[in-house]
């Protein structure tokens, strides 16, 4: 499988475009974190390592790094499902600092 380009693609001419309407890049250039007005903050001291926040993230913008959940704020849209579903209640949705 080829790696897709994560950058924004700007075709300057029809000659650069493939014949068919096909994707050649990923959507990861689109930093949806800008949509957010509340942000999840995880208190790792209280984390049960259950993975539920990771499981229910619709982006997904929660990665598991060294057995801990880490929010990718570049993409997190601030829906709050992780905070709502966390059984330890260790995620709070804080006002976004802009």
């Amino acid at each position: 499988m080829k790696e897709k380009k994560a950058k924004r693609i700007v075709y300057r001419s029809e000659r650069e475009m493939p014949l068919m309407v096909i994707s050649v890049g990923s959507q990861t250039h689109n930093l949806t974190g800008a949509w957010r007005n509340i942000r999840p903050e995880i208190d790792l001291e209280k984390c049960l390592k259950c993975g539920i926040c990771w499981k229910f993230c619709p982006e997904p913008a929660i990665e598991i790094v060294d057995e801990r959940p880490v929010v990718d704020y570049d993409y997190c849209k601030g829906c709050g499902i992780c905070a709502e579903e966390c059984p330890a209640k260790c995620i709070v949705m804080a006002e976004e600092r802009k």
Partner: protein
């Protein structure tokens, strides 16, 4: 090998010899024999293809399109109401650049229910980005299917092979069935550069904004503009292999004609007969049969009609509120051509009413009696 077959079976043989791989089809009169024979060929393994018994023409074209996207050569056939139901997907096939080949049996549109021929079904799809080949014999039907794949796959543009209901679809003629290995040499397997596969995952046909859509349509038109030369080129290559020429038009005694018929379909063959009868009477008639309507063969039409003294365009179709469709097209091609002949427009044969040599003689008498057209539509054979 020579065989006596009906026009519908000529389509089936064309698809078989082209080694169509996926054939989704839905029955409609007068197309049924096309798909009946193909389903038998698939069942008996004469043809290694998947025959999908879809529940509508709309699904037939949708399945053709996606199978083509997956890299398979696809074929289907329909007529009139079925073609109209496919309309949305016809745009999809050309816009997605999927070289599907479709056999369409020209049949008049309902209501009232008609199963007899006229061209309004296929000409209503003129602007969908498909190539259109109008045939006048069963041999031409078979040969055109093979040529349509060759040209369509080179340009990634779909193509319709069109024949008249009953006048051709159910008429038996002697047809030379080419040998498979010779067809294989002419038409190699379909191998699109980009196809739908997990090995190289792409999203096909996603949301396309104003910054890109325009260029994609520009490319389609530019490729369509390459089609006339390619059709002539593949026609010559076909002639070298099979001895039969497949050009953009079919000229019959055009060189010295005082009156040139512009015709299409089986009426285009009848016109040749009329030309000979008129010449017996001392009238120098000729016939330009339009074989390819999209892409429109501008240069060829200008070259041939530019030398004619008078032209009579015979339309088995009508654009309500305008004129006969071929008449409009021919006039637009001649616009600005110096010494262009007067062009007369005749509408006849709608809903399967016969077009006979006498029809052409009546047209000739009308056109020769006048210096130029004094009305845009001359109706031939309508009961008034």
């Amino acid at each position: 090998m020579k065989k006596v077959i009906m026009g519908n079976h000529a389509l089936s043989y064309g698809a078989m010899l082209s080694r169509a791989q996926v054939i989704p089809a839905y029955p409609i009169t007068p197309q049924t024999q096309v798909v009946e024979l193909l389903s038998e060929m698939c069942a008996s393994k004469t043809l290694d293809a998947k025959f999908i018994k879809v529940e509508s023409e709309h699904s037939a074209m949708a399945s053709c399109i996606s199978a083509s996207a997956a890299g398979a050569r696809t074929f289907t056939a329909t007529s009139a109401q079925g073609l109209a139901l496919m309309h949305e997907m016809l745009h999809w096939a050309s816009g997605g650049r999927h070289p599907v080949v479709l056999g369409n049996i020209n049949r008049a549109m309902a209501p009232g229910w008609s199963i007899w021929t006229d061209q309004n079904d296929s000409l209503s799809e003129r602007d969908t980005g498909w190539m259109q080949f109008y045939c006048s014999s069963n041999q031409e039907v078979l040969d055109s299917v093979i040529q349509a794949y060759k040209v369509g796959e080179a340009l990634m543009i779909p193509a319709m092979v069109i024949l008249d209901a009953f006048a051709l679809s159910h008429t038996y003629e002697v047809v030379e069935i080419p040998e498979q290995d010779k067809v294989d040499a002419f038409l190699p397997p379909f191998k699109p550069e980009i196809r739908l596969t997990p090995d190289d995952p792409h999203a096909f046909g996603g949301l396309t904004g104003p910054e890109h859509y325009f260029e994609l349509r520009y490319k389609l038109q530019k490729d369509m503009e390459k089609a006339p030369a390619l059709i002539e080129g593949t026609g010559l290559e076909f002639e070298r292999l099979f001895g039969r020429r497949l050009g953009l038009v079919d000229e019959y005694k055009c060189g010295d004609a005082d009156l040139l018929f512009v015709s299409s379909g089986t009426a285009g063959y009848t016109a040749n007969v009329a030309v000979d009868l008129l010449r017996d009477e001392g009238i120098k008639a000729g016939n330009l049969r339009m074989r390819v309507v999209r892409p429109f063969p501008f240069e060829t039409v200008r070259r041939i009609l530019g030398k004619a003294k008078k032209a009579a365009v015979v339309d088995r179709n009508i654009s309500y509120g305008h004129h006969g469709i071929f008449y409009q097209e021919v006039k637009s091609a001649l616009y600005g051509v110096k010494k262009a002949p007067p062009v007369f427009g005749y509408i006849t044969g709608l809903g399967g009413r016969d077009i006979t040599p006498d029809t052409f003689k009546e047209i000739a008498a009308h056109a020769l009696a006048k210096d130029g057209p004094d009305e845009e539509i001359v109706w031939i054979g309508v009961k008034r």
